[in-house]
Every structure is written in structure tokens, then in C-alpha cells.
């Protein structure tokens, strides 16, 4: 659906994107995971044709570069900033954006209401966006990206700074889009979200694509062993052993068999956090 080939982009001395190549398959939810300043937004801007790369190329399948009007028609973007007009109502915002895609008057309004419905804002459709809460603006921002029913939807941190209610709504929305066969590219620095939602994840840091795969594959490749920690004894006599293992069940059975007064067991499975730590030597949250 979307193919990036050796993309490179620098801003003055900052190399924001450094040779990123990847291909997003039709119908998948594709995550770009990386800390602040990793180059996620820049990659996305290159992908949708907002920026032109210093090197490399972008192709929307069968339609050429994203600057081509035909390609633009199938792309929907929800930028990281809240790109809506505060002085327009939710419905007016969406109808205006739909109009830019050449939709007629009646069609515009129908699509606007569909998108508002999808993000749960239909009851606030006639209120100005300026009166919306932060989470509601995020949802409207997302709705504005899908109002023209694009097949490739690019979301830049759609859940940044929102309350749990809006977050659930947005994640549900992304899932429904995927179920309807849309392709979603999604940036985040919340690894739980990436783990739950994304079919495949690309890990980016300092402009470089470190690895790409399903969450399982990434953990299998970089997560290392599961750690089983077995504590024996109580109080001052307590003693813990951390055992790295590929097969925690077997490790546990062996521990039980070897006897002793086992008082606690902890199993730490590797996750994307571990993957990131292994790949960069830094924690995702500190990065």
C-alpha cells in the first residue's frame, strides 16, 4: 500500500530521517514506535508528501508519489497538532475538509455526520470546535482525517494527551477501520498501544529504522529470555534466584522438583520496552 525507499531528510545539521525503508501492507495496522524526536512525524510527513525527501522515494501502491492528486485522494491524515478550526463547528470543519476532496454539498454533510458518529461526536456536531475538550478535539482531528473515506490513514500520535475515555474511543476507531480493510499507519511512543493494536511495528530512533516485524517477532528477536525469579525462604532468610529461560514452564517445573521452601515466583516476559532497550541501549521512556 505504501512503500518508503531509502528516505533521508535533514533540517540543517539535524538528520531527522536517516535511510528509512519499509513497506506497509494493505489492510494492516502499522505502528511507528520511537521516543520524542525519533523522526516519526518527519517520516510521516515524507510519506504523505508534505515534505520532499533529500534522498529516497515514496510510493503509494499503483498511484505513484503522494504528491500526485490521485494518490492524495486515497490518503487521510490526522496530524500531531489539533488541525481544526476553533471558530467552526465540528460539522462545518468536516464538511469543509470533505469539500477539499471534491465532494458535493449533500455528500459532504453526510460524510461529515458519518465521521462524527464514528468518533462519538455527533451530539456535539453543531458546537464550535473551540468549545470541545482536549480529547474531543483529538477525536475531531481524527474524524477530519477519515471524512473522505481514504484507504490509507496516517495518524500521528492520535492518542497524545487524551483521557482514557477518548483513548478507548480512538483505539476502537482504529480497529474498526482495520476491520473494514483500511490501512492504518500509526505513530506512538506508548508501547502498550503498539502491542495491543499493531499488526506490525517499526522501531525508530534517531532517524534510523532499527527493526520491523510483528510484536512477537520483535520480542523473539530482541527481547531475550523470559526471566523466572524464584524466592525461597522467609524474612531475613529469603533468597531470590533470577533464571533466564526460553521455556519458563519448564524452568518452573524444574524449580519445583528441586524442592525447597518456595515462597514467591515471578515471571518477567520481555516486551517492546525490552526490545527497545536491547536495540538502543536506552529505555523508551528515558530516551
Amino acid at each position: 500500500m505504501l512503500r518508503l525507499d531509502g528516505l533521508r531528510k535533514s533540517f540543517g545539521p539535524t538528520l531527522a530521517v536517516d535511510g528509512v525503508s519499509l513497506a506497509v501492507n494493505p489492510g494492516e495496522v502499522f505502528g511507528l514506535l520511537g521516543p520524542n524526536g525519533a523522526g516519526k512525524s518527519t517520516t510521516i510527513h515524507l510519506a504523505v508528501g508534505l515534505l520532499s525527501p533529500d534522498a529516497g522515494r515514496v510510493e503509494i501502491r499503483g498511484l505513484g508519489p503522494p504528491t500526485d492528486p490521485a494518490a492524495r485522494r486515497v490518503i487521510g491524515v490526522a496530524p500531531q497538532s489539533l488541525a481544526v478550526y476553533d471558530d467552526l463547528t465540528g460539522r462545518e470543519n468536516l464538511a469543509f475538509f470533505a469539500g477539499l476532496f471534491g465532494l458535493g454539498r449533500a455528500e459532504r454533510r453526510r460524510k461529515a455526520d458519518e465521521a462524527l458518529e464514528a468518533v462519538g461526536l455527533l451530539d456535539r456536531a453543531a458546537d464550535r470546535a473551540g468549545t470541545y475538550s482536549g480529547g474531543m478535539k483529538r477525536r475531531l482531528n481524527l474524524a477530519a482525517g477519515i471524512v473522505h473515506d481514504p484507504s490509507l490513514i496516517v495518524l500521528d500520535e492520535p492518542t497524545a494527551g487524551v483521557d482514557p475515555q477518548s483513548r478507548d474511543n480512538i483505539l476502537g476507531m482504529v480497529r474498526r477501520l482495520a476491520q473494514r480493510g483500511r490501512t492504518v499507519v500509526y505513530t506512538t511512543h506508548y508501547m502498550e498501544e503498539a502491542e495491543k493494536l499493531c499488526d506490525r511495528v517499526a522501531v525508530i530512533d534517531r532517524g534510523r529504522l532499527l527493526d520491523l516485524g510483528t510484536v512477537h517477532e520483535l520480542i523473539a528477536r530482541h527481547g531475550g529470555d523470559t526471566t523466572v525469579t524464584i524466592t525461597r525462604g522467609r524474612g531475613d532468610h529469603a533468597r531470590s534466584d533470577a533464571v533466564p529461560t526460553k521455556d519458563p514452564a519448564r524452568t518452573l517445573r524444574e524449580a519445583m522438583a528441586s524442592g525447597g521452601d518456595i515462597t514467591a515466583v515471578r515471571v518477567d516476559r520481555p516486551d517492546l520496552e525490552t526490545v527497545f532497550l536491547t536495540l538502543t541501549g536506552r529505555s523508551l521512556r528515558d530516551a
Binding site: 508528501g49 491524515v77 500531531q80 478550526y85 471558530d87 467552526l88 469543509f96 469539500g99 454539498r105
Partner: protein
């Protein structure tokens, strides 16, 4: 709807919803024009009393007496008697509101009132003072009727009735009017006999027939007011013709500022991302933005001119002045749409650039006729002001309004305005940044 058009309509809607912007585009210029128009006096000198120049071509006791009655009136400041030429030029120059002309035959008519003659009084007024012209018509009728009551009262009535009967015999008035007049004269004779015996003054109502009153369309007073077409020597006829072009300058400034920074805000806000990722070209986006500014410039100018014409007596004389005004408004709208692109472009070049853009436009506005009317500026300032597009808009508007520009004279400011627009467009588009 074409995308450029829907962007333009959206921008205009946003302008109207932004109270502060809308105020500076539409309300402030109007307040400015009304305020400065009024403090410099709606019609030059003679505030309070209406200035009137008298031309007496009759020079009979009756006409002299009428002039004296005019002088005695509190509401009028009377100059003259003078020649028609002098009086007309005073009115044309806006130094006097109106001239009152008593033609030859005024005295004779006043003697022949009962014989069906009406008292001829002519006036010519400055067309920009229509409201005052209405007042003058009323005044002239009032004074004429007051004088007629004077004729009826006092001792002279027996002679006048006799004179009138004589005249009617010599030059009979045909038809029912003649008969009516005969009856009137008879009745008047009876009336005065009785009045005298009652030793009472003549009732005031006797003369209050008003215009168009009287028997069979006959009115004893014949006041005709015409407008004196304006002088093309190029002077504003009233202070509103100066203040409304100034108001237009502020309105244009409001448009330039409002739309110029809106583009920068769209960029920081991210809505520009939506526009640029839509299947439309960047040229279309800019065209939509420029179109919005163009339409707002047209609207603000039309609104100010319309208001000035309807309420403050500014006026365009004849189709050619209208055509010149159309051209002036069109060219300044095109020009300032371009200037807006310039502001939009430089507002994006970095922090502080927006403030710089605002300051620059404010200075250009002030030296371009926004504060002190151009023709009042010292010569070197007028020269310096030529770097401001506002100067040229002022010149074009004034050219149509009161400078009486010919198409040839209008060409210069129009070409300069379009030039500013084109230059602004080129520089602005080059400086434009599309992403944060």
C-alpha cells in the same frame, strides 16, 4: 464548488466569526470615517447656520424686502447680494451650501399674486447637502408665505385688491381658475372689511397653503430647487469625502492584517497540513486565500462608500465617476490581495517576523493617508508616501470621488496598485513555508 472558492468562502466565514478581526475590517473603518468626518465639520464652515448666497436680479422693493426677511432668519447665514457667477462659484467650491436667486419679475409677481401669479424663487444647492436642501425649501416657503400675510394685513390691501382686479381685467385668467380668482378677490374684500371692523390681525393660517396647495394646482409661492453640479477643480465637497477614503484605507489594512496572519496561524495550527494534503495544488490554496482577501476588500469598500453615500452625502457624479470608482475599488482590491500575500509570506520567515509585518503595514497605512489626509501632508511627505500602496488606493478612490480623474489620470494609481499586488504575490509566494 471549486476548491479555491470553498477555501475563500471558508476564510471569509472565519473572518466574520473572529470578532476582533471583523471589527477591524468592518466596524473600525466606519467609525473612523464617521468620527473624523464629523469633527472636521460635515460641510466646511458655517456650522449650525446654513450659509446662503443671495442673487437679486429683480432689485425691486419687494425683492429687497424678501432679502431682508432672509437675513432676519435665525437658521440662515446670508451673504450677498452678489452676481450669479460669484454665488455659483461659492457653492461649487463648497464655501456656501446654497444660493437663492430672485429672478427679474419677482416684484411684479408679488404685486400680481391675486391675479394668479406665483412668487418665483429659485435656489441651487450643493448636491452633497441634500438634507440641508430640504430645509432650505421649507425655509423659503415659510418666508414667502410670511411675507404674503404681511401683504394682506396692514393698510395696503385696498390698493392691492384694486390692482389685482385691474390686472385680471386686462389679462384674464381663463377657465375655472379665473372664476375662482374673481370669487376669491370678492371674498377677500369682505374678509378684510370684517377683519378691520374686528380690529384684529390677519390669521397666520391664511398663507399656509404649502407647496402644491392652492386652487386648481395654483400655488402662490413657486420655489424651485436645483442641484448645482459639482466643480471639477478637485476639492472635496465635505469632510466625509475626505474621511471615508481614510476609512477605506483602514479597512484595507484590516483585510491585509487579518488574512495575512491567518495563513501563518493555519501553518502553526496544522490546518495548512490538511489543505496541502488534499488533492489540490498549492497554487489553488493561495488563490483561495487571495480570493478571500480580494472579496473582503471589495466588501469593505462597497460598504463604506454605500454608507457614506446614503447617510453622509458623499456622491459620485455621473456614470463616468461611477466607472472610475468601480475601477479604483477593483484595482485596490487586487492590489491589496497581493499585499496580503506579502504579509503572509514574511510573517512565516521566523519568530518576530509577524510583528515586523504588522508594524510595516501600520506605518504604510499611516503615511498612505490613513491618519492625515494626503493633500494636507507637506510635499516631501507626499513624495515619501508614494512607497505605500495605501497612498495609491487613496488617490484612486479620491480620484473617482472628488478629484474628477479622467481614465488617463486613473490609469496611474491603478497600474501602481496592480504592480504592488503582483510584487506582493511574487515575494509572498516565494517566502511561503508550507510546514512547521
Amino acid at each position: 464548488m471549486s476548491p479555491a472558492l470553498s477555501i475563500a468562502m471558508n476564510d471569509l466565514r472565519l473572518l466574520l466569526r473572529d470578532r476582533v478581526n471583523a471589527f477591524f475590517v468592518f466596524v473600525f473603518p466606519l467609525l473612523f470615517a464617521m468620527f473624523f468626518g464629523s469633527i472636521f465639520g460635515g460641510g466646511g464652515e458655517g456650522r449650525g447656520r446654513m450659509t446662503v448666497a443671495v442673487v437679486d436680479e429683480d432689485r425691486t422693493p419687494a425683492s429687497l424686502a424678501f432679502v431682508e426677511s432672509l437675513r432676519a432668519d435665525e437658521a440662515l447665514a446670508v451673504g450677498g447680494p452678489m452676481s450669479m457667477g460669484q454665488a455659483e462659484s461659492l457653492v461649487r467650491q463648497g464655501k456656501t451650501t446654497a444660493l437663492v436667486f430672485l429672478p427679474e419679475g419677482f416684484g411684479e409677481a408679488s404685486d400680481g399674486l391675486f391675479a394668479g401669479r406665483s412668487l418665483p424663487i429659485r435656489a441651487k444647492v450643493d448636491p452633497s447637502r441634500r438634507a440641508e436642501a430640504g430645509l432650505l425649501t421649507g425655509k423659503l416657503n415659510e418666508i414667502a408665505f410670511r411675507r404674503m400675510t404681511g401683504l394682506f394685513s396692514g393698510e395696503g390691501w385696498r390698493d392691492r385688491l384694486a390692482l389685482a382686479r385691474d390686472r385680471l381685467a386686462r389679462e384674464p385668467v381663463a377657465g375655472p381658475r379665473g372664476e375662482a380668482l374673481g370669487t376669491l378677490l370678492d371674498d377677500l374684500g369682505v374678509f378684510y372689511e370684517r377683519m378691520e371692523s374686528a380690529d384684529d390681525a390677519a390669521p397666520d393660517e391664511s398663507g399656509r397653503a404649502g407647496e402644491g396647495g392652492g386652487v386648481g394646482g395654483f400655488s402662490p409661492v413657486d420655489v424651485k430647487v436645483e442641484e448645482l453640479t459639482r466643480d471639477l477643480a478637485g476639492r472635496p465637497k465635505n469632510s466625509y469625502e475626505v474621511s471615508f477614503p481614510q476609512g477605506i484605507v483602514w479597512g484595507l489594512m484590516g483585510c491585509v492584517m487579518g488574512f495575512g496572519v491567518s495563513l501563518a496561524h493555519e501553518r502553526t495550527r496544522g490546518t495548512l497540513v490538511r489543505l496541502t494534503t488534499a488533492p489540490i495544488s498549492r497554487g489553488t490554496i493561495l488563490l483561495g486565500k487571495a480570493l478571500a482577501c480580494f472579496v473582503a476588500c471589495l466588501l469593505v469598500q462597497a460598504m463604506l462608500l454605500g454608507f457614506g453615500m446614503l447617510v453622509f452625502g458623499i456622491r459620485l457624479d455621473g456614470p463616468s465617476a461611477w466607472a472610475m470608482m468601480g475601477l479604483a475599488v477593483l484595482c485596490s482590491s487586487v492590489g491589496f490581495a497581493g499585499v496580503m500575500m506579502f504579509v503572509a509570506g514574511i510573517s512565516q520567515t521566523g519568530p518576530g517576523a509577524e510583528g515586523f509585518g504588522r508594524a510595516l503595514i501600520l506605518i504604510l497605512t499611516m503615511i498612505g493617508g490613513g491618519t492625515v489626509p494626503l493633500f494636507m501632508l507637506p510635499g516631501w511627505m507626499q513624495t515619501a508616501g508614494m512607497i505605500s500602496p495605501f497612498t495609491w488606493a487613496t488617490r484612486a478612490i479620491e480620484g473617482a470621488l472628488w478629484r474628477g480623474f479622467s481614465p488617463g489620470e486613473m490609469a496611474l494609481p491603478c497600474v501602481v496598485l496592480i504592480g504592488f499586488g503582483a510584487a506582493g504575490w511574487v515575494v509572498g509566494v516565494r517566502a511561503m513555508k508550507w510546514t512547521t
